[in-house]
Symmetry: C2
Subunit: 249 residues, 2 copies
């Protein structure tokens, strides 16, 4: 049995909590959050505290709080030499206070409050200061995911950077698509099958093999027509930047 305490209860930790709680190999001992949170059914019996001094014993503490608060918060723990991990893609392991044993438990996925996710295929990137802790984090990760990988803080930073491109930036292109359609009173639903197929394609094709479109085939006439349709809007910069890059591929 792996005893876990959650420190913070934002998007990542509440989804991790939800997944780990169900595993018989895991016992969620307690949830700490700076602000009071009412845990609702079926979690109403999990002890909650908003008092750092009342954090209970556990095999692993999982910090899920804003990146820039991780360091000071880990320093404020009233205990020593326990395994304290954080869940952030962009923060190095050595940002954690060295009064405890540090580690990383980073699920590479986008989490929204309103949406359940299935952890089975989500890569969980782990790192630890010693091999025993690494083994424990692997065991913990494998209770919910078939894809637990050891990755250094340095490589994880690059992975997180790549994730920003394929998640946040991609989603912003969806936003632009939706705005272009809005202006024509066309429903965004029209683009959804294309969006899903674009993402599904790269399951079997490389992005390079999957690429199509006017920029790739250097179709100057269509490109000029599109720039004309964009009519000096803020999207012109995006169109030009991508088109230039795609012509070179």
């Amino acid at each position: 049995m792996i005893n876990v305490v959650f420190l913070g209860f934002g998007n990542v930790n509440s989804h991790l909590f939800d997944a780990l709680y169900k595993r018989k190999e895991v016992a969620v001992k307690q949830v700490f959050n700076r602000n009071y949170i009412k845990l609702i059914s079926p979690y109403e019996n999990i002890p909650f505290t908003d008092d750092v001094s009342k954090i209970e014993d556990a095999d692993v503490y999982i910090i899920g709080i804003p990146d820039d608060a991780i360091s000071a918060f880990s320093e404020s723990m009233p205990f020593q030499n326990r395994l304290v991990v954080h869940t952030s893609g962009g923060v190095a392991m050595d940002a954690l206070s060295n009064k405890n044993r540090g580690g990383i438990f980073y699920p590479l996925q986008t989490f929204s409050k309103q949406r359940k996710v299935d952890f089975k295929n989500i890569p969980i990137c782990i790192e630890a200061e010693n091999s025993k802790d690494l083994k424990l984090l692997r065991s913990l990760g494998e209770t919910i995911s078939g894809n637990v990988v050891e990755i250094s803080s340095e490589k994880r930073a690059k992975l997180h950077l790549a994730a920003v491109f394929v998640n946040n930036f991609v989603n912003h292109l969806y936003q632009i698509g939706s705005e272009i359609l809005d202006k024509e009173s066309l429903p965004f639903d029209l683009l959804k099958p294309l969006i899903l197929e674009t993402a599904s394609k790269i399951e079997t094709l490389s992005p390079n093999e999957a690429q199509t479109g006017p920029a790739k085939r250097n179709d100057i006439k269509t490109i000029e027509k599109h720039l004309h349709l964009l009519d000096d809007s803020e999207y012109v910069k995006f169109y030009e930047l991508f088109t230039e890059a795609l012509k070179k591929v």
Copy 2:
């Protein structure tokens, strides 16, 4: 029974052929292509010609050739007053020669030779010069898709533009993500669950609701770290452009 002749046999037409051939309401009378194509099993009995003068009678002719060739090619047809449609997102209906009745049969999807697609949910955008032809195109579309919509050439041009953002440009961001990982010898597979979830999210959330990440929360420290990691590469421009736009959202 709707008799169809395919004019050209690139990505769009070969996928349309594959889908329409199977419908009992449709008879594929012939495939024309400028260069010889060997139709393989189970299509080996479909007549093929590379001679414009031998194109057979049909209820509808579906042109699937490069955008800039559509106009002249439609003018070269050796018959008159028949229904001739094209499948391009970016070309107006009036680009078709007026010696025949023009129309549009535009499946809004990304097609690659190597990948089968399921037409059931694909929007098929139709347009015609008269209501009888429009009705025929609707019937034809509904044999393969539950999502046949009438859209004017003007709105279709904007739809095609939006499609370039959510397909070609999105795929280029996948390419950048894959290159960032390559340099670290990390497998692109790590990003695939995130890519798929990012696309799936907008089935139920708007792109605005779905957005997360350092730029949205104006996390200057992470943004600066990322720019540092990008190290003056060609990706910096992309990072800066998206980040500036996301800060404003």
